[in-house]
Symmetry: C3
Amino acid sequence: MPTIFQIPTFIQILEFIGTFAFAISGIRLASAKQFDWFGAYVAGVAVAIGGGTIRDVLLDVTPFWMTNPIYLICSALALLWVIFFRKHLIHMHNTFFIFDSIGLALFTVVGISKTIDLGYAFWVAIIMGTMTGAAGGVIRDVFINEIPLIFRKEIYAMACVIGGVIYWGLDRLGVDAALTQVISGCCIFVVRALAVKYQICLPILKGE
Amino acid sequence: MPTIFQIPTFIQILEFIGTFAFAISGIRLASAKQFDWFGAYVAGVAVAIGGGTIRDVLLDVTPFWMTNPIYLICSALALLWVIFFRKHLIHMHNTFFIFDSIGLALFTVVGISKTIDLGYAFWVAIIMGTMTGAAGGVIRDVFINEIPLIFRKEIYAMACVIGGVIYWGLDRLGVDAALTQVISGCCIFVVRALAVKYQICLPILKGE
Amino acid sequence: MPTIFQIPTFIQILEFIGTFAFAISGIRLASAKQFDWFGAYVAGVAVAIGGGTIRDVLLDVTPFWMTNPIYLICSALALLWVIFFRKHLIHMHNTFFIFDSIGLALFTVVGISKTIDLGYAFWVAIIMGTMTGAAGGVIRDVFINEIPLIFRKEIYAMACVIGGVIYWGLDRLGVDAALTQVISGCCIFVVRALAVKYQICLPILKGE
């Protein structure tokens, strides 16, 4: 029986929320560029599954979304949501920021954990975790023909890197795996939230 | 003996026509952006083999063009064709539309069939078929620094999806595999032709 | 003991120089687009390892940089270099041109050699060699939202192709493998240097 007909676990609920929020971010930016419904769906899917797909291709495992349709269904629901509740989106800015940050935290931790389980070094796992969280947004920005946002603004990928280093530290200290994942996920969430609240940015690289 | 010295089958002739037309579409758009011959060739190759390459990487099989040079030779012929017969291209608009639609139909059916043969679910196969047909054009548009055309205009990828659903339906009904492929390929061709003739588009996603 | 603590071989020194120069090229173009430090690092890494990563994904082997952190460390040093010695970069134009050409030559030869060792045909190896040398710059240009430079200017990828054909010719003539690699690498270097010095370009493809 497919997962969606079982009672979902807490992690699955978080994953659904994160996928939904990631897809919404792609669909909203697509709508600003006059994409049609198909294009908007692809932009949403790109954010929701793009990072994990690149990770799985590099790790040489079957891309995660090819074994369970839930991620594409979730992105389709996000498209319907934008079509029907478009006018309310602006009032839900904070909600979506929280959902998106949950997704970032969860996807990063999932990416790190999967890479470690496959026997790679920790520095590879941190890169894979960061890619899982942040590379989808880069693909989205390539599709909408803009310079990727995370290369110029916001502590976004750096939150993943920081969370990854904390994951590594806790693992080294012998902390329980589940606890390690919860703590490093929370750190990613908090770092990103603080960075947005206090408008903390990385320095811009000055030209010649 | 390599395939090109044998008498080609009907499918191989269709594949050659499709590859040629796909490559032409990349080369023509490249010429509008002042690409040099090398850049134009890469743009042509990207359309001709890009979609199938992404499919094969996701399916974890050797990219199809790495085992037979015919696809790259065919793209090179397309480049020569544009260099020498540039001025006649405008009069051949309808011919190229037909060739391009043959390519779209054939590549989609090939992508679906290959994915099914590897044991994946039908919904994965429909996505892979659509990618085989349509993703090359997305790569081309990224190279020429434009928003991908299929995200904003034309029933193009949707024709692949419709053909894929018909493929699935016929397969379910127990129709012979070859007949299933011919019918669904024809449907893709017809859907695209009708969409262009009657200017049928998907709705644009309105912004906030 | 990791490679970096051993006395490096001559090839490793060349590889380090090439990686450094490739990363510098990504970081400099990123700085012109107001990237932050993270974005500039990603742009540098994209040039340094992007081509080899695409090659390894197509060849279905583990991407080379995932087994040795030296390439990412080298890119990080390139970022620090640009941050601290930014003002001197303009005076080092010729040095970087030479380093970059060394990288192009070495990466191409490494790409050809690796592909041959995996049992692929020579024409596949030449393509993989050219990708190893030139595809990273394409990814960089997609990230900074420009039409890839090598599609419009400079004999860059063509130098790789010419070097690849020479590699094939020498191999056919039964020349020793090491000598074949040195000669074809030098040819790539020389072809590129001559092309830049005498401003030799491929013809632009004229539009309709």
